[in-house]
Amino acid sequence: MAHDHHPTGLSRWLFTTNHKDIGTMYLWFSFIMFLIGGLMALGIRLELFQPGLQFWDPNFFNTLTTMHGLIMVFGAVMPAFVGLANWLIPMQIGAPDMALPRMNNWSFWILPFAFGLLLSSLFMEGGAPNFGWTFYAPLSTKFGPPSTDFFIFGVHLMGISSIMGAINVIVTVFNMRAPGMTLMKMPMFVWTWVITAFLLIMVMPVLAGAVTMMLTDRHFGTSFFDAAGGGDPVMFQHIFWFFGHPEVYIMILPAFGIASHIIPAFSRKPLFGYSSMVYATASIAFLSFIVWAHHMFTVGMPVAGELYFMIATMIIAVPTGVKIFNWVATMWRGSLTFETPMLFALAFVVLFTLGGVSGVMLAMTPVDKQYHDTYFVVAHFHYVLFPGAIFGTIAAVYYWLPKWTGNMYSEFWGKIHFWFSIIAVNLTFFPMHFSGLAGMQRRVPDYNMMFEGFNQMSSIGAFMLGFGQIIFLGVLIHCIKGGKGKATDKVWEGAEGLEFTHLPSPAPYHSFEQSPEVK
């Protein structure tokens, strides 16, 4: 490659405009956040191991749940997907790089500052945010600690970063596809990411609006969320969930795309129902805008509203079901092997289905009045987030790592990582269904003895799960340092897509200097 030279050392990373460097930074950043957020989760599980307050003051416990949620959502899952988008989209559509490389650099480098602001609040007088990652008013406005303002600016920065990342994806995909790659020939990961990018552009400004209103309520005498001044605390929830529900899909659609690459590759058979996959993804994205108040069935909405949001929410099960059935049909009469990426992808399908089952249950308003704000909900969203978004990301890393580094990772340790994680994830989150149904509410540091057994299981599982991710770190470092020898260009027997068929392993610094022809 003629102009493959670039600065080295720190300035390479500070000033880089290369999609692979930036992707790498996003992924490591997200992994670090994942470990920090994970430590906080362990702090939570430690306190909940047995009844009584053993470790934290209840206020710090609330801080732990709040920061755990914020860091995992905004620091771990979202940047991981942006990192994957950076690495993969140019290679998959036959482009040399992202369309807006300088903005790309900026959208990454905002993140360390955003999370610096957020994490610094842990050391401030009055403590860090303690009002839940959903930061409902007035707990977060009138009653929030002084550090809430740092949280507000942190969220603004994260939002700016996400919006810029999303613009970059959209511009790249619509302008830089190789000749011949029509929209309906785009790889599923690209499709799911474009749709995600539109969701981001539409809802991140709504989140920004919510935190800005909080800021003015706190400091400039407005009363958007204060009934005493003519405002309404429930309006906060409407605004938050108008962002929050699409956000749920922002955190899962790219994982859908990933599964749609891995399952065909290891089934040695094309994806079943490509176009219905695209349409299902688009309809899920559309529906995600019109169901937000199913998070609010106990706020006292008019009954007509409750009925509407129940029915609209149930409809989402249909396109989601289509996706799951399509993955199963892809495997049907294929020729399956079970390398680590496939194991994680299969676990993703199975456990995401379980999350979907509890999702349908939660959608039913009359019953949701019992489930709402209990550990049943905690179980539900961890089933879609951990085995969903995070297993999806892990599967992607194993699948594309040989292409990125040119080395094969250790299949043995990858499988150990898998079995450890899948046992631990179920041990952690399955019992939460039961404690929730039996009446344990969310976000409490202490509980009656009748919930002790299930909480102990969850705590043991959580520590196993945390330990399992150290194995992952080991596998990654080993692979980057040489791993189990060189990977072939195609890497996997059944791999499809430009990145495997048209690029060597490791992929060159500038992906495609000449556009490949797609037939």
Partner: protein, 385 residues
Amino acid sequence: MSLLKKVMSGLVLFVSMIMGSLWAAEPEYSTLNLRPGVTDNSQLVYDLHMEVVVIMFAVAALVFAAILFAVIRFRKSKNPNPAKFSHSTTLEIIWTVVPMLILIYLTKPAISLLLDMEDTSKADMTVQVTGIQWKWKYKYLDSDIEFISSLSTPAEQYNDYERNAAEKGENYLLEVDNEVVLPIGKKIRFLITADDVIHSWWVPDFAVKMDAIPGFVNETWAKINEPGIYRGVCAELCGRLHGFMPIVVRAVPQAEYDQWVEKKLAEKAEAERLAAEAAARSWSMEDLMAQGKEVYEAKCAVCHQSNGEGLGTFPALKGSKVATVDSADDHARLVILGLNAMPKFGEELSDADLAAVVTYERNAWGNDTGDTVQPGRIAELKAGK
């Protein structure tokens, strides 16, 4: 194929075990499953829940069985030559339409149940429930009874930082000082609101969970079929002691309820008489300090802490400007009226208790101002003098 059969029967066993444990769970006090509860609607909610569980688990079991079959039958060693098909319109239509039908089937009973749950008209009596950081206030609108109900589990049972917590009682964190007493067989409307942040009043046995929102009043209702004690909790994160504001309802037959109302009214008259007496006499510093310490520990220490040093956003009173420099009147006014996140205590505490707690705060922890406040002065402050 025999391996396949074994695995399949294993799967069936596993699923039926889960389902079995749900069914078999002791209905009254399950630690595994929802409770059928003691109202008609809670029973219907429970039935609907079980129906969804069965249907959705059946769907999931089908998916899992198909995956398992594929994993076993179509592994490379068994099926070296993959098929090439990549779509089937018929199949895709089937698995769009069948789930829709299932959902329609499930939605129908949900709609009628919901309409009934939201119909608060024609109630026999009304109780107003107010969430306050971290206790509940109940006001019986038909019988002029009002009281505050807060956690009665002693702190020795939950403070285990030194690993020396006292033994926990059976209803640990689910017990209160003043139970809500309600008659059975009556349609009771609850008007739910809050003073400070959002709380949520949840009694699982009634299938009632309603957010308590400051500045707004929500309505819900229950008609209890069986006498008994029903325990619930605050379900919406409401600050530091969110996990420590339980609800206890004692449902009794109407006659017993009427007796309780009478007793409560008599108690109230007696308390008013005592308060008037206390307010009329002049208190010594010792009496004020002794009484003030009691009130402080019961009502203020959760936020300002026993040592007066505060915690997080709750300011210290030890050496604070209000408690040492400002006048005793200003100090008392703040406690009567509240300020931002500081609750108002003017209604909850008697004049004597207010006088005592203000005196206590101005003289404890080395705040030795020497000021005393008399109940009579509190009454004047309340009247705006």
